[in-house]
Symmetry: C2
Subunit: 555 residues, 2 copies
């Protein structure tokens, strides 16, 4: 058996340093380049993706004989992939049978399997890019990066955190208590890491790998067996992941059923039945708050980690780079057509306007500046397609269309035609102007390419409203534009108190949307947008428990 | 201002080593000796205790002007101590006001305050011993050790774990992402630790300090403000703790309301109102499962850490030291009259008897052996008083008396008279013999000096039943006696799977009841007896969150 741990030891050590130092680091190149991944990698990946279409997916796992699958590319064609169906009972039974040997394996073996799985996932990043593109609707380069290397980063980060906690638990110790002149009391103690049980990871349709890998790899490394339940609209990326993990498990001498894929349909969902099985000890969920609340109600006694929804604010007080600010905001609103959990929604601007490097700009001028930047950014169809990608599902498209009535249109959501995929579901971002009092319009998440320029009484009031909404409804990101150091300090305090991270004066290439593994703590866990963070010690430390055996020391 | 962190840095460093090595260690001497604590320490402690009786307790904190207190010593006299009363609103308002400066203080300052508080608590261990003795009913030496140094150990352990997590979070970093031939992207990032809010610690009447200090010190060090709600029957030990913590906070320049005492009465409890306040982010609870379930239902979205109840098993398969086994079991059943959460309740013995160093012993002979060991252990009134202490409350006494009908009496619970305190509530342990089928009698916690010798079909069946009950009802300890290595391995696997630690073949001075800080993980968090462990990383890592501020790097 290959020593996967030794093979990837250096990567692990660097990851352990990275989570402590929290500067930039990644072992998985984000450039979709033939020079890095091999000159034929792009073509090979596309060919592999095409070979999976209109066929049965090769995943040799327990099945009831049915074939399930209903994925449709947001770019306008049915994938036609059928996955082996299985009853919840079959999945749970197989997972339970696979777990004991996995749980008892040395930590290094589990970590080795995880690291080798990530390594093989990395080598198949082009194939994954196609799978993520044609399920999530992300444009190709984004699908490559977010679905491939950046997701792998999140997985590796979770492995590092889990290993960091597990290595603290000694295997065996002699406990020796002095008794004055008498011989010491002595006990031999053995500590055993035990898993929580089956870990259920429930994926989402927009970032099927990026939002799941932290949970998947944290649960596996800590000895749990895993059932991955993808969104029925985005199965393929997690099916590929399960396929690779099962292949590595088999090579390492484990029952591949340590990782199982649970495929369902929108009409017959199985997440509730899975989540409430007593064998399931951990549930990780990314998705909307309605099901999130159901899980909170019904998963008591289980470890539940959620990323739900938020209303991300931008508070504009002033800027010394008006053009840069508008361009940066336009990019944030456009990237993946506003379908990132990190995309801004509410842009608070003082009704009296703001001071800028171009003089005072009225509220309308700020709104027009953003609209103009959107038009410039998205003017070229090829470029627009590369930034916007496609809208994942019809509901998001309809929501965006219906939102037009919620305020005064600053930038209309226009249907666009994708140069390569004329059937793609495309829309440019809708931007609306509202007064601060129209809170019914903007004080809830309107997921998709919809944002609001909110006329606030003044910047201080903007900040107070934005922070209060973070506390009430949650947020995953917050941003501020100001040239006033005192206002920036006030914003830092207000958003820290509300429990959300803050980006200040982003006017260049970096967007508030971006969250980098090993450096940014994604989701604070301190407001209603989610109860967990990718990744910190709390994300991993309760995925396992420790029990001891103690006995008198044999002299 | 004194540099408390520097003053106790060596203790902290040793504690950090101890939680990793998990051998024996303690900086707080457990011997109630004048040589260690000062020749007058014992008399001084008793005098200080007596001075608090029948008077108003000096705790300068927000109050509504009322004076609250109803403590009665289990040794037979009313303490007559009145504590300042306060409304929940007053307490929450004061706690909220005190928190921001505490949360923003450098970690070293918070850790310093915690370590100095523990140091001063240690010096007042004799006073604390009297306070714990005359609230919990523990005998003096046990009250000294468990209420003083051992509780301080648990507090220090929590400080070390919290510090270990907090020091992982860098304050400020430069994030620098290479861009090929172009200049790197650069962000300055600042990470800020934010608390959960108010941390509420709900104490119990049997181990008011030992069971609270982990929570108290973990919550404080991670930046939360603290409201301590003692059991109305055991206020004084936590009032002393709050008094000392407030004194240290004041000296360190903080608002002493970072630590507040919330005193209530059995007739007008305030824990529910406190626990459900939105400002409260953390609830730590030690006590019965009825209120534990209420908290689970009503504290969603808060961090809830519980130690509730368990049914602790002993599986007897065979022994090579029959006398030692019976003596050790008798001590475990007697110590603090069975009022330890770690005390055994269910002793499973094969109906056909067991092999021992004294030949085969029938089930009845095993039961008689335990009963005889109890009589020997408790035969001398002074010795009995030193081991049994007193029964904390009337309900426990009544429960133990009523239990006599649950089986065949092996050892009667006899009322005893305390040599120094004739009014003390004393009873010797009741041991009953039941058949395995009489599960209604023994398959629930009967808190207090009640245990069952259960006639099981065989040892294998004993193990299966005991492990199944751990899974269903929870357990904090498990023990096994066997000379068969295969049976011991089977027991290790079965109890690990059930999620409880196991003590094997304890026949000497060490009891299954004992749990040592820095070595034993007290409560696994993996069965219904409690959802948290004293102490591991999971106990501290979610008491705080991290938010960041990121901005373009200023060249």
């Amino acid at each position: 058996m290959a020593d996967f741990f030794a093979a990837h030891r250096e990567t692990l050590d660097k990851a352990l340093s990275a989570i402590a130092e929290r500067g930039y680091w990644s072992p998985y190149p984000e450039m979709p380049s033939g020079k890095i991944y091999g000159e034929t990698a792009k073509a090979d990946g596309e060919a592999a993706f095409k070979a999976t279409l209109d066929s049965r997916f090769a995943l040799d796992q327990p099945s009831d004989g049915s074939w399930v699958g209903e994925e449709v590319s947001p770019y306008g064609f049915a994938l036609g992939i059928a996955y082996p169906g299985a009853s919840v009972e079959q999945l749970v039974t197989a997972s339970e049978a696979a777990r004991p040997a996995w749980a008892e394996a040395p930590v290094a073996q589990r970590v080795g399997v995880a690291l080798e799985t990530l390594h093989r996932l990395n080598r198949r990043s082009f194939e994954m890019a196609n799978a993520v593109m044609h399920t999530s609707g992300q444009a190709f380069v984004m699908a490559f990066q977010a679905g491939g290397p950046h997701a792998q980063d999140r997985g590796l980060e979770a492995v590092a955190y889990a290993y960091d906690e597990l290595r603290k638990i000694p295997g065996q110790v002699l406990w020796e208590k002095p008794q004055g002149k008498n011989p010491p009391l002595q006990l031999d103690k053995q500590f055993r890491v035990i898993p929580r049980g089956i870990a259920l990871t429930i994926g989402c349709s927009t970032f099927p790998t990026w939002n799941s890998y932290s949970a998947i790899f944290a649960s596996l490394v800590t000895g749990n067996s895993l059932i991955v339940k993808p969104h029925p609209g985005a199965v393929l990326p997690l099916a590929l992941t399960a396929q690779i993990a099962r292949e590595v498990l088999r090579e390492a001498g484990f029952d591949p059923n340590v990782v199982l894929l649970a495929v369902d349909t929108a009409a017959a969902p199985i997440a509730k039945e899975l989540a409430t099985r007593p064998e399931v000890g951990i549930v990780d969920y990314t998705g909307g708050p309605a099901f999130g609340r159901w899980l909170e109600e019904n998963c008591r006694g289980k470890q539940l980690f959620t990323e739900q929804a938020g209303v991300n604010p931008v508070v504009v007080e002033s800027t010394d780079d008006f053009k840069g600010m508008c361009g940066n905001l336009a990019f944030s609103l456009s990237l993946y057509t506003g379908q990132m959990c990190t995309a801004p929604q509410n842009i608070y601007v003082p009704a009296a306007g703001i001071e800028t490097d171009q003089g005072t700009k009225s509220l309308d001028e700020v709104a027009e500046g953003i609209a103009a930047a959107l038009d410039k950014l998205l003017g070229d169809p090829e470029r627009a397609a590369g930034i916007l990608g496609a809208i994942q599902n019809e509901a998001t498209l309809e929501r965006a269309k219906a939102a037009e009535t919620l305020g005064e249109v600053v930038h209309r959501g226009e249907p666009l035609t994708h140069p390569q995929f004329p059937q793609a579901r495309m829309l440019s971002p809708l931007v609306l102007k509202v007064s601060a009092s129209e809170s019914a319009a903007y004080e809830q998440e309107c997921f998709g390419p919809v944002s609001f320029v909110i006329a606030a009484p003044d910047a201080k009031e903007s900040l107070a409203r934005a922070a209060a909404l973070v506390k009430a409804k949650g947020a995953i990101t917050a941003a501020v534009h100001s040239t006033d150091p005192d206002f920036l300090r006030a914003a830092e305090d207000a958003f820290a108190e509300a429990g959300v991270s803050l980006s200040e004066n982003l006017t260049g290439q970096i967007l508030v949307n971006q969250s980098a593994a090993f450096s940014d703590y994604h989701v604070s866990g301190a407001n209603p947008a989610g109860n967990a963070c990718l990744t910190d010690a709390a994300f991993v430390a309760n995925r396992f428990r420790v029990v001891a055996v103690r006995r008198p020391h044999a002299a």
